[in-house]
Amino acid sequence: MSPEPVLSARGLVKTFGRVIGLDGVDLDLYPGEVLAVIGDNGAGKSTLIKCLTGALTPDAGEIRIDGDEVHFRGPLDARAAGIETVYQTLAVAPALDIASNLFLGRERRRPGVLGSVFRMLDKKGMRDEAATALSDLGIGTLQNMAQPVETLSGGQRQAVSVARAAAFGSKVLVLDEPTAALGVRESGQVLRMIEEVRSRGLPTILISHNMPHVFEVADRIHIQRLGRRAGVITPQSHTMAEAVAIMTGAVTLEDRVAAVDDEDRTGHER
């Protein structure tokens, strides 16, 4: 019942000048699970996953992958360790087209001498694959694959970012509000994608403000509040209303001791 966590963090602290982003946060991600992170705006969710994925360096605390401590010097290190992330800011290059963005940093080369000697990109191949990846997410309104990303609608842009992570995730998938700008159908598609990833045994961290979505796919829910972890619950142990109450500080987890039925698994609530 208690396998080794794939990714675990202890006592993460991150401050920005006088603003406190994270205030000693622990997190564990077990194999094959979907861990949702919820919390008010500014609760530190994005800061937390940025620290986990190398985009920020925490001021204090440690991060372990498969039990070994790691020190990411940048997102590339995390990616090399198999962590694929969709950031809330999307991290797309606005002037580049969709295919270039999807394959950014992992471009595919032509076969033969053209690729090995001249290092020529396989543009057509990448464009075709990008089209497939996007239509897999249900984005059917894209009329022109050579459009620069800056001319896309908000949701289309987000879809590009999600498709990138979905296509390349190898160990852990981290999604920071991946459906915020997506339509009903497209959101549904992303949730399907997450479930599909779980069925392949890959664990996912999902940040979302959409409680129905969270309760639909999450195995466990990490509640972030004012830079700290307010507790970890499951969709079975708590209702949406209770989750929101904890999130907003209306109740604390200790108030409802009985509910924390997976306490033994996560180990150390405060």
Binding site: V92, A95, S100, L121
Partner: protein, 340 residues
């Protein structure tokens, strides 16, 4: 949207097009055409003013005149694409040229070695610039402003301001100035090298992963970082490649000038940046193409020569070049701003 229904947008697309808008629309499809068009107009006007302008002999000379700035502008384009700017182009080129030439003159090193020394110095200078930009995170403007002074001073201290005459240099160093005939054209080897440079770097920018990364870094550094691009490595590579290009340009400059002189290419910074910007590359990085730079360099060169051939007086020419630069880019903007 679908082929069968005539939608409102399709109706709109069909009506309301003046001939001028049609031209604008056509040109919009091929962005590189627009500076090309400016160039063609310039050619038409100037050869109307003086028929000699369009003759192969004059055009061959134009190519040779533009070669040095054109080559430097390749490096400058790379750096500007990453949202940087290089004020040390001229200083690096002069330093590389003078050290190579002095070593050949005083220590008798062979020509090949002198060229390699020049390129090597360019690489070192690029490494210095790149390291300061990435490791200490200084703005490129400041870094290259500083190294502009530093490299200039080193060059002057090393050479005492003395130039080296062609006859004291190995033949290879002058080779870039030698010409060969092609019909009524006379092309110098320097021009050939510069054109190859455009082809090579243009290919790398458009068709390799490195090229994509250069654009991505210039477009949005933070996003590129989050997307897992080694931003610093890309930046350093760009400064180093630019430096190597400046070193190579030093060789072309010797052949062109017939001497290695610390006074050469006084306005290299402004002129190379001008070629890049007229060529349509954004000073904010991430947008532009190398072909535009080539056209930009040719446009400025054509204006200067054309006005001179048209017999426009010295100071009036300064005025005219100013007006023309504005007009050229205005036409370009007009084409880009096409609606529908």
């Amino acid at each position: 949207m679908t082929a069968t229904i005539q939608t409102a947008a399709e109706q709109f697309a069909l009506r309301r097009r003046s001939p001028l808008q049609r031209v604008q629309h056509l040109l919009h499809g091929y962005p590189a055409i627009s500076p090309l068009l400016v160039l063609i107009i310039a050619f038409a006007v100037f050869s109307a003013l003086n028929p000699r302008f369009a003759q192969p002999a004059s055009l061959s000379l134009l190519l040779q005149q533009v070669a040095v700035i054109g080559a430097l502008a390749v490096g400058q384009t790379l750096i500007i694409l990453t949202a940087g700017i290089d004020l040390s182009v001229g200083a690096v080129t002069i330093l590389a040229m003078m050290v190579g030439a002095k070593l050949a003159e005083n220590n008798g090193i062979p020509g090949v070695l002198a060229v390699l020394v020049a390129i090597g110095l360019g690489v070192v200078a690029g490494l210095v610039n790149g390291t300061l930009v990435t490791r200490i995170a200084l703005p490129p403007f400041i870094v290259t402003l500083g190294t502009l002074s530093v490299f200039t001073a080193i060059g002057l201290l090393y050479t005492s301001g003395q130039s080296v005459q062609a006859d004291k240099l190995p033949g290879l160093l002058n080779w870039t100035g030698e010409t060969f005939g092609a019909g009524r054209w006379r092309i110098s080897w320097g021009v050939v090298i510069v054109l190859l440079l455009y082809v090579g770097v243009g290919f790398a920018l458009a068709n390799t992963a490195w090229g994509r990364h250069v654009y991505a870094v210039g477009d949005d550094k933070e996003a590129a970082h989050l997307a897992g691009i080694r931003v610093n490595r890309v930046l350093i590579s760009v400064y180093v490649v630019a430096g190597a290009i400046y070193g190579l340009t030093a060789w072309i400059l010797i052949g062109r000038a017939g001497a290695a002189s610390p006074n050469a290419i006084v306005d290299a910074n402004l002129e190379s940046i001008t070629a890049v910007v007229i060529g349509g590359t954004s000073l904010f990085g991430g947008r532009g193409a190398l072909l535009g730079t080539l056209l930009g360099a040719l446009i400025v060169g054509a204006f200067r020569s054309g006005l001179s051939l048209a017999g426009v007086d010295d100071q009036w020419r300064v005025l005219a070049v100013g007006l023309l630069v504005i007009t050229a880019v205005a036409i370009d903007q007009w084409i880009r701003r096409v609606k529908a």
